[in-house]
């Protein structure tokens, strides 16, 4: 991967490469390199979980236009979803990923990306499935109590929103004060408002990378909210997120054959 990155930077295919390097604690952290000489800091392993596609919205990245993106499968799915939402039109991206056989794979076009993603489409992570099953087995009251307890810890740091590639609104609903849709203070009721709103806005768009829950400083598994939302949408309306270049966004498309069995 280091060699390939160096090559792409050297021959000008890529102006800015977003990947992972190791910090003092041997943790993989996002890194941004612009010259071939820096490529030897790149690492890639199972611990590289950050969804780097979120940086594609950053002004400094957009200005570089020709981007190299080190990706795990979740990142690639996010990019698929963003492409289907017309968000990356100003960028030319080369993707570097590693397949299950441990081989470097380089994808240079949207079509190559789509083919790879569809051939390697992941299933729901086991630990998430376990937690979702547990929550779905609870009574409504138990589930309410669980989330009330969890969300009372939320400090409204918005790290969940910040790491999400799908949260790219230039002015978030939470930043609107005319009217103040969502309370800014971190009291439980306002926290509920924020997280349920976010789950709604991500309904049919979230690819379940799980980053929001993993990085939450308060340790709240917020990714389960969006994961459940998307499971239900998939069940009701079909379609998979991060699957196709064509947008089949469940929450803003209507087909005459759509089931209406929720209207009782």
């Amino acid at each position: 991967m280091q060699d390939k990155a160096a090559e792409l930077l050297k021959n000008g295919t890529v102006n800015l490469l977003i990947g992972f390097s190791e910090d003092l604690g041997k943790r993989p952290v996002p890194c941004f390199i612009e010259t071939a000489e820096e490529a030897n800091i790149l690492v890639f392993n199972q611990e590289c979980k950050n969804n780097l596609s979120v940086y594609l919205h950053k002004k400094e990245v957009k200005d570089a236009v020709k981007i190299g993106l080190v990706s795990n499968i979740a990142t690639l799915r996010s990019v698929m979803q963003l492409l289907s939402e017309n968000q990356l039109w100003s960028l030319t991206i080369t993707y570097l990923t590693v397949n299950t056989a441990g081989e470097l794979v380089v994808l240079s076009s949207a079509e190559e990306l789509e083919a790879y993603v569809q051939a390697n489409f992941p299933t729901c992570r086991a630990e998430d499935k376990e937690m979702l099953d547990k929550l779905n087995a609870m009574t409504r009251a138990e589930r309410w109590a669980y989330w009330k307890d969890q969300l009372s810890e939320c400090v409204k740091c918005y790290a969940c929103r910040a790491v999400c590639p799908m949260c790219y609104c230039t002015v978030c609903t939470t930043e609107c004060n005319q009217p103040q849709w969502i309370k800014t203070s971190a009291e439980t009721s306002g926290n509920f408002e924020y997280h349920t709103m976010r789950a709604m806005h991500l309904g049919g768009r979230c690819i379940n990378c799980g980053e929001c829950g993993r990085i939450c400083p308060a340790g709240i598994p917020v990714h389960l909210l969006t994961a459940q939302m998307n499971l239900e949408i998939e069940q009701e309306f079909g379609g998979k997120t991060g699957w196709s270049l064509k947008s089949e966004y469940a929450m803003n498309s209507f087909k005459p054959g759509d089931k209406e069995n929720f209207i009782k």
């Binding site: 910090d23 003092l24 604690g25 943790r27 952290v29 996002p30 890194c31 941004f32 950050n50 979120v54 940086y55 950053k58 002004k59 400094e60 810890e153 400090v155 409204k156 740091c157 918005y158 790290a159 929103r161 910040a162 790491v163 930043e175 103040q180 309370k183 800014t184 203070s185 971190a186 009291e187 980053e211 990085i215 400083p217 308060a218 340790g219 709240i220 598994p221």
Partner: protein
């Protein structure tokens, strides 16, 4: 300063005694997520002891994440009843702080009270006793020794405990601390000065305060800021976990007829922090915002209050989704 010994097995007795006496005890608690947070406890059995650092600081005790400033209620004649709740703050003991956290309280004390004293902070701080436990372990994010502190530092604490082979060395630093000890006099025996050195962690030192004093003036213009801030997601995790970050927002919650005005944590890293109503944003890029955060910690708080406001606890590094490293960044912009 008074020096005492407390046997390890009596720690639980002491803390449970404080609870029985009606004090609120806030201590580190291990949550299901595997992270440790400062929470009010009902017994010492709930207190976590085997961890390096809590996820968030304990500053919530004196500077809550949401604090009611006052409630308001319109009367028929158009005037308003405005009430605060400053008289309803309980006696609180924060148990199990680290020396870096206690230094953080010391900074908060100076920031909120030195000039234009903040009555809300004062009301809580005056009712709080800080019991710190020395660090026997550290990780690579800890850097207290770079900011004029160390794992056995007493700065900011009322009492400092150091675990030493089945007993606890108790340094009673303030009158507040002494009052707490005296509430369970029978558990403590006097002692001479003991050396803590062998029982303290040895975090790596990355720079010295002298180096900061010399070079921080050159940091603002450094070309390294862009690189130091590229990974920043523009969230508030670092500021909210930090023991010395004090920025807040003021919001009205309610109707024009009745409701409350609250203050809640805010973070200078967030994109809208400095935005004017006109739309003009003086710190419009993440580079400028990160620079402001670090310059504030290492230069502006020195110019305003005489102290560096970073205590080296490393929380910002641990909670950051991209683990941005404050001491690495400071070194790179200074050199």
């Amino acid at each position: 300063m008074e020096l005492k010994l407390l046997s390890t097995s009596d720690i639980a007795v002491f803390v449970d005694g404080l609870l029985k006496a009606g004090k609120v005890v806030v201590a580190p608690v291990l949550k299901q997520s595997g992270k440790v947070f400062f929470k009010p406890v009902q017994s010492f059995a709930e207190v976590a002891t085997d961890y390096i650092q809590t996820a968030f600081s304990a500053k919530e005790v004196v500077f809550p994440k949401v604090e009611e400033l006052f409630t308001y209620q319109h009367n028929e004649d158009g005037s308003l009843d405005i009430k605060d709740q400053l008289d309803r703050i309980p006696e609180t003991v924060v148990w199990g702080l680290r020396p870096c956290d206690a230094a953080g309280f010391d900074y908060l004390n100076q920031f909120f009270l030195k000039e234009n004293p903040d009555v809300y902070f004062k009301a809580r701080y005056d009712k709080t006793t800080l019991v710190t436990v020395s660090c026997s372990k550290c990780d690579e994010s800890c850097f207290c020794t770079s900011v004029d502190s160390h794992p056995g530092d007493t700065k900011g604490s009322d009492i400092l405990l150091t675990a030493m082979d089945g007993k606890c060395y108790v340094e009673v630093i303030t009158d507040n601390g002494l009052a707490l000890i005296n509430s369970a006099k029978e558990l403590f025996t006097s002692t001479d000065t003991l050396s803590k050195e062998a029982f303290l962690a040895k975090p790596a030192t990355h720079f010295s305060m002298d180096e900061i004093k010399d070079k921080i003036q050159y940091a603002y213009a450094s070309a390294e800021w862009k690189h130091a801030s590229m990974g920043c997601y523009s969230c508030g995790a670092c500021a909210f976990a930090c023991p010395t970050c004090t920025c807040f927002d003021i919001q009205d919650e309610g109707t024009q007829d009745h409701g409350k005005r609250v203050r809640c944590w805010d973070a200078c890293g967030m994109s809208q922090f400095t935005k004017h109503a006109s739309g003009h944003n003086p710190r419009n890029t993440q580079t400028e915002r990160r620079r402001q955060r670090l310059m504030h910690k290492f230069k502006y708080s020195v110019e305003n209050l005489g102290v560096v406001s970073c205590v080296g606890c490393g929380r910002c590094i641990r909670v950051c989704p991209s683990h941005l490293n404050i001491f690495e960044n400071i070194l790179s912009v200074m050199n």
